[in-house]
Amino acid sequence: MKKSAKGSFVAAPHLVWCVLFIIAPLLFVIYYSFTDSEGAFTLDNILALPEYGDIFLTSIEMSIIATFLCFLVGYPLAYFISRSSERQKKVYMILLMLPMWTNLLIRTYSMMAILDDGGFLNSILTALDLAPVHIVGTKGAVIFGMVYDFFPYMVLPIYTAITKIDHRLIEAAADLGCNSAQTMLRVILPLSRSGIVSGITMVFVPSISTFYISQKLGGGTFELIGDTIERQFQSYSTYNIGAAISLVMMILILISLAVMNRFSDEDAGSAGAARIAGTGK
């Protein structure tokens, strides 16, 4: 045992790094959450959190809607791409990755440039003698921004999961009497569950914590958790309350991640499969 553990010392720099720059910062978040600006222990920050309840609820609501929309549009896209020819798949993948590697600020900003009151969409509408629409500053615009920005993160893992499905399983389903809709519902959807779970995670987490999207597309009219945290740190320098809000958000996300992962690791069972299939409907 000692003999083969030899060589693990090369992981030491990484372990030190983890302790100093991953664990220590999180401990600081906890420390700040429970102290006042003088460094004395207090529960005031935590007790002040209910003030932000509405913001929490709005953020959760909007990011759930955005995640759901991403899934609704993304799953068929992933499925259709997976059925294309190898050549087309390659092109579609580049098309999907390009926005992912384009800076989020640029994408959000370009979206705003279109939807803004004096933007491209409205100038077209005006040219067509239609009434201009006010979009930027509404909830819908922010949700749309989230969907637009994080959409590829939903499609990619689902696509990967679908392409990994053994083709013989689809043949087996057909052999046992599944038509294509039944094959989708009973075999492909449940077997791509892991992809769905990571897709949901990868859209939900950045959506609930964003502040740039709401700043630009929300037109500064309402606040999400991300905005609140950003303001505590960058504008008001009220680190303690900011830390407390972050802590709660982090715990919320960790809990939902744990629940989601349970989902994807759950032992093969029809109940779980059916539940996932249900969300696809």
Binding site: L169, D175, L191
Partner: protein, 373 residues
């Protein structure tokens, strides 16, 4: 017995390569038929056409007399046990087996009853809630069979289902499959490259090579009366010699005339002569019809395997008598041990043991296992 599946002039090409070349085959109800052949012979493609996973380029596939070329797999009364099983990893044993019944919206209590029956049949009682991914190969195999049989198909297709199992288990499963087939009365179409498996289980055996059916017959027919050098060599070991049929009952090969029981050839027709290694008896050299020198001896357990040089042609002979290497011996062959075949495209390619060694044999067998289209 009634025909259940008929294949007429089936042709199938992949990338310009002809995989099936005019396949004609009738399959009768309630029989256990095996399609046997080496890799790339088209046996799996034939099975996939019957299963509805491939459409033939031309020709007809009939089921109960009706053409089913364009009927999708899910509407055929034919189920498949896939190579490596293709069990649904997200469903447990029970749900895998119940899959087809759930599609048919069978009432829950009936599903439970029928799945239980199936589990009893494949001896997996108590495995209902097991995760299929953690079952052994043999158990997965049984689940696959139960899953395919539960909807009571008319025909069950089995694509090398025992290929992934170890030898002992394979033998047990062979018997079990045969039993299941007899009990259920479902037509089994079994694809394999393993001649022993084919001989053990089948009613008729279909031997395929190069996209064509070479011979159809009972295991005994195929073994005793192979139609050409390919079949003779593929099923068991054979010494295949060039000969001339002098007249009915008289054949000349290895520089000597022999009495045989076959007939119906042209006078002086060149033929292939098959002598099975176990049908040759050792006698004293002066009493032998042929004489030769033993060039190698291998102990095989039940018998010895000899390579004997007879006038430059190496014979394989199996015998329980021991003869030492380099010893001169005489050989005696009974008339009914001599089988005469017409010349074919396979003549001269098989049945000569001059370059034989166990190692080479393994290599040539290796090709047969490679996956086919």
């Amino acid at each position: 017995m009634e025909k259940i599946i008929e294949l007429h002039n089936i042709i199938k090409e992949f990338d310009g390569e002809r995989i099936l070349d005019n396949i004609d085959l009738d399959i009768y109800d309630k029989e256990f038929i095996t399609i046997l052949g080496p890799s790339g012979c088209g046996k799996t493609t034939t099975l996939r056409i019957i299963g509805g996973f491939e459409t033939p380029d031309s020709g007809e596939c009939r089921f109960d007399g009706k053409v089913i070329n364009d009927v999708p797999a899910y509407r055929r009364h034919v189920n498949t046990v896939f190579q490596k099983y293709a069990l649904f990893p997200h469903l447990n044993v029970f749900e895998n087996i119940a899959f087809a019944l759930r599609l048919q919206k069978v009432p829950e209590d009936e599903i439970i009853r029928r799945v239980r029956e199936m589990l009893d049949m494949v001896a997996l009682r108590g495995f209902e809630h097991k995760n299929v991914n953690y079952l052994s190969g043999g158990q997965q195999q049984r689940v696959a069979i139960a899953r395919a049989l539960i909807s009571q198909p008319r025909v069950l297709l089995l694509d090398e289902p025992l290929g992934a199992l170890d030898l002992k288990l394979r033998k047990d499963m062979q018997n079990e499959l045969k039993n299941i087939q007899q009990r259920t009365g479902i037509t089994f179409i079994y694809v394999t490259h393993d001649q022993e498996e084919a001989l053990t289980m089948s009613d008729p055996v279909v031997v395929m090579a190069d996209g064509k059916i070479q011979q159809v017959g009972t295991p005994i027919d195929i073994y005793n009366e192979p139609v050409n050098a390919f079949v003779a060599d593929f099923i068991g070991e054979s010494n295949i010699l060039d000969g001339v049929m002098l007249e009915d009952g008289r054949v000349r090969f290895s520089g000597r005339e022999f009495v045989c029981v076959d007939g119906g050839f042209e006078k002086n027709e060149p033929v292939d002569v098959v002598v099975r290694p176990e049908d040759v008896d050792f006698v004293a050299p002066e009493k032998g019809m042929l004489t030769g020198v033993v060039s190698s001896v291998t102990f095989k357990g039940v018998h010895y395997e000899f390579i004997v040089d007879i006038g430059g042609f190496k014979w394989m002979i199996q015998s329980t008598d021991f003869v030492d290497q380099n010893e001169k011996i005489g050989l005696s062959i009974d008339p009914d041990a001599i089988h005469i075949m017409h010349k074919s495209e396979y003549s001269g390619k098989y049945g000569d043991y001059s370059s034989f060694s166990d190692e080479l044999d393994e290599l040539s067998n290796a090709d047969t296992v490679e996956e086919e289209l």
